[in-house]
Amino acid sequence: MSMPEAVAPEASVQEAGRPPPLARIEVLERDGRLREALSVRAWPVTLGRAIDNDLVLDDPHIAAYHAVIEAGPEGEPRLRVLPGRNGMRSGRRVLPAGGAPVALDELAAPARPASTAAAPREASPTAATASPSTLAAGTVELSAGGVRLRVRRATDPLEPEREWAPARQAHAGTLVLAVLLWLWVLAEHAIGLDPGNKASDWLPPLVGAPVALAGWCLVWALASKIFQHRFEFWPHLAVAVRGLLAVEVATFVLLWLSGLSGWPGFARVVTGATAAIGVVTLWAHARLVLPQQRRPLAWASAAAYLAGAAILLALNQQRQERWFAELYSAMLPPPVLMWQTPTPAEAFVQRAERLRPALEKSSLEAAAEQKEKGDDGEEE
């Protein structure tokens, strides 16, 4: 069926004798799922707890007759919150009980640039699971007590139909990466085993690693099920596989860079780099679970990482008198890859002289502290 999107086919809506719908009022669960909907063909519409309302809202924080949406002088729908205790809200705007009527147009979500509205990057990793709760332009969101309402009007523009991207395509890349990761783990295991090992030695990477990964993704998928009502196993697998692979590759590259260059800085940042990848991975999982909270989650993740790093660095400095726990670079390059020019042994030993000021400083500090406290406040 290819037909212009915003034009209603004549026969289907224009039912015999009934006026066309003006609006649709939807009652949403706290998590955004639709609980019930009322098709409005004539204003006014009354909202409240009493059963003779047009829309009955069963919530103790709602008055018997809580609000009414009525046509204004020009026929435009207006919300009038009736006298009562709690009033209503629309976004951050408070609509006090008994206040003046407010045109729904004032409360409508602003139209967004088309690029944003339809951009695939708004969608989660697989386009098919694009968030349904993205507010369409013109929609009015209201809340009263614990009830969320959404008002869509016939005049609101509709977003163009999105393309349905079959999930399988998106999964192909993930599968390739998952196999790569598995091969990586198997290779590491093979190197770790001595020759002549038993077949059972291969159980951990062959069975344990895939099962552990699947279990991890299962837990996240269950979280998605709870919050999004979708069991998003594959999207979580995509996140986990990429994260783990990134950790493996980063560790490998940094350690070898350190070994080959002889510069210990590369080895020192391994912990920080892998932790950063871990935090990003967790954030990616979390944003699948709570897509509306992506930005706060990103800030929280970054803040947690920075706070963790600061604490770790400070502890290292306090306990070890240095910023990084790694004392020396432990990767020894094979002879064919060793391109550094060795230092003469005497020069190396002489260079230890450079350590002397820092060493003497710590004993001077201890002596000063001792003098301050009398002979020695040591307790054991």
């Binding site: 070994g259 432990a330 020894l332 230092t343 042994a345 190396f348 820092a358 060493l359 002596a367």
Partner: protein
């Protein structure tokens, strides 16, 4: 260190039973930690009264107590009469004191040991480790004596000899102990014979004054500092007590015992106590922490040890491809082990060389000694890729001590270094002794880099050395790594060092 390696000697634990684990980190591969557990403590030894039985010690014993490593078994000495030790104990009993370290301001004892009167003015000798708490923190502790008959009084610390673990004390009010007489030292001109009966006096575990009789076995072998090997039992609480010959003359001071054997105990030779007495008898009482004196004595000790160590060429390790620095076993003891020949993984041979002589400075601090270790790896059974993995892993995870009240954090430098024709990865770490300015622990970690399936990793540790000597020892150690000359494999690994010795 291997399970068959002996535990180092124990100083007699004090009745406060403080144990100090001196953990010596081993090379990092699979469980190759060398762990030397040292119990440091002092117990007090109550004096035995020597019976004036003349001993048959007239055979010439070569060497005085000042030289290590003499002893061969000689003919059995004359057996003492059954009551010899009884009489020894009875006559020495009055001159034995229990030395107690009390917390200042209260009467609870922090540790107890023994001591004995050596002059009529009230000088007494004990171990440094009996009084180390007071010596390091005189504002927190005080020293008192107690006699077998229940008298008590204050003690003053006059001088210490930390290297030989001796301290010279004086009774604050000599009149309290007037007329008790003194224990005399056996003249050096009358050396004891091996096998001769001697009696260690003390108060083991604070149970009561006791005599522990045993045999004189000469000086302990391979000990840098001379100590008498006493074939008898010493327990915590006897530290600082005298060991007497059959005529009641002091030949040594109880100091330590091995816990992994039976009746393997050690005495400080008496001449060191005589020297301390001569040096410090007129000294003013110590009221400040003795750190400056410790630094002075330890500095002199490490100077001598460094020179002696540098003067020795490395000996052959027996490796076919490399020369590896392995110390002479004159003052060190080396233990080796290797993977079983049918092992299917990385093969290695390991050597751990440690010194028996370690100087107790304070709780947990044993200085003035050297540890040399290495592991030779053969990866031909596992191939080059696995070898790289295992070899790097082995190089990782070496510990270099962490910051504490006594020690600074390690500060390290690392580089690829050229040994004698052999590229090496070397990591050199130093920790400063915060309270012993000028003294450092130095650790040098070395791995050979020329082999894709074989290599040697070594570690050298020296505890309590000057910066200059730490550098000299490190250079000496690095110079011990090289390639075997073609055709001379296995021989003459003790190649001459480059001129790094003083």
């Amino acid at each position: 260190m291997g399970h068959n390696a002996p535990m180092p000697e124990f100083r007699l634990p004090p009745w406060r039973a403080r144990c100090v684990a001196g953990l010596v980190a081993g090379l990092a591969t699979a469980g190759l930690l060398a762990a030397g557990l040292l119990a440091v403590g002092v117990t007090h030894a109550q004096p035995l009264v020597p019976a004036p039985t003349p001993s048959a010690a007239s055979a010439p014993v070569p060497g005085t107590l000042a030289l290590p490593g003499l002893a061969f078994p000689t003919t059995a000495p004359a057996l003492p009469t059954p009551d010899a030790s009884q009489r020894a104990f009875a006559s020495a009993r009055e001159r034995l004191l229990q030395v107690r370290t009390l917390l200042r301001g209260q009467d609870s004892q922090a540790s107890v040991g023994s001591g004995f009167l050596v002059t009529d003015e009230g000088h007494l000798i004990t171990n440094y480790h009996v009084v180390s708490q007071f010596a390091l923190k005189p504002s927190q502790y005080r020293l008192v004596f107690a006699t077998a008959d229940g008298r008590q009084g204050a003690l003053q610390l006059l001088d210490i000899d930390v290297v030989h673990d001796l301290a010279l004390l004086k009774v604050a009010d000599p009149s309290v102990l007037a007329g008790r007489g003194v224990l005399n030292f056996r003249p050096e001109s009358e050396p004891l014979q091996r096998g001769e009966r001697i009696h260690a006096l003390g108060n083991p575990l604070d149970v009561g004054f006791a005599v522990m009789s045993g045999a004189y076995n000469g000086l302990a072998e391979r000990s840098y500092l001379p100590v008498i090997f006493f074939g008898g039992s010493l327990s915590g609480g006897m530290s600082g007590g005298p060991a007497l010959d059959e005529r009641g003359r002091v030949i040594g001071i109880n100091v330590a015992a091995r816990r992994d054997g039976e009746q393997v105990s050690f005495l400080v030779p008496a001449p060191f106590a005589q020297q301390l007495l001569a040096r410090g008898a007129k000294a003013a009482p110590i009221t400040e922490p003795v750190y400056p004196r410790l630094v002075q004595q330890l500095t002199a000790h490490q100077e001598g040890l460094t020179q002696a160590f540098l003067a020795q060429p490395w000996r052959a390790s027996g490796h076919a491809h490399y020369t590896v620095p392995v110390p002479q076993e004159k003052v060190m003891r080396c233990w080796g082990r290797s993977t079983p020949p049918d092992a299917r993984g990385l093969l290695f041979e390991r050597s751990d060389c440690t010194m028996d002589s370690r100087i107790f400075v304070g709780s947990g601090q044993l200085l003035g000694h050297i540890v040399v270790r290495h592991e030779a790896y053969d990866g031909r059974r596992i191939g080059a890729i696995r070898f790289i993995d295992r070899y790097s892993r082995s190089f990782r995870n070496e510990a270099f001590g962490s910051a504490s009240r006594q020690l600074s954090a390690p500060h390290c430098t690392e580089d690829t270094v050229m040994g004698r024709g052999l590229p090496l990865r070397a990591v050199m770490c130093l920790n400063a002794h915060k309270k012993l300015p000028g003294l450092y622990n130095v650790s040098l970690l070395v791995a050979t880099l020329d082999g894709s399936m074989q290599g040697v990793q070594g570690r050298f540790d020296a505890y309590g050395f000057s910066f200059a000597n730490a550098q000299k020892l490190a250079a000496h150690y690095l110079a011990g790594f090289g390639l075997q000359a073609a055709g001379a494999a296995g021989a003459a690994a003790a190649a001459p060092r480059k001129g790094t010795a003083p």
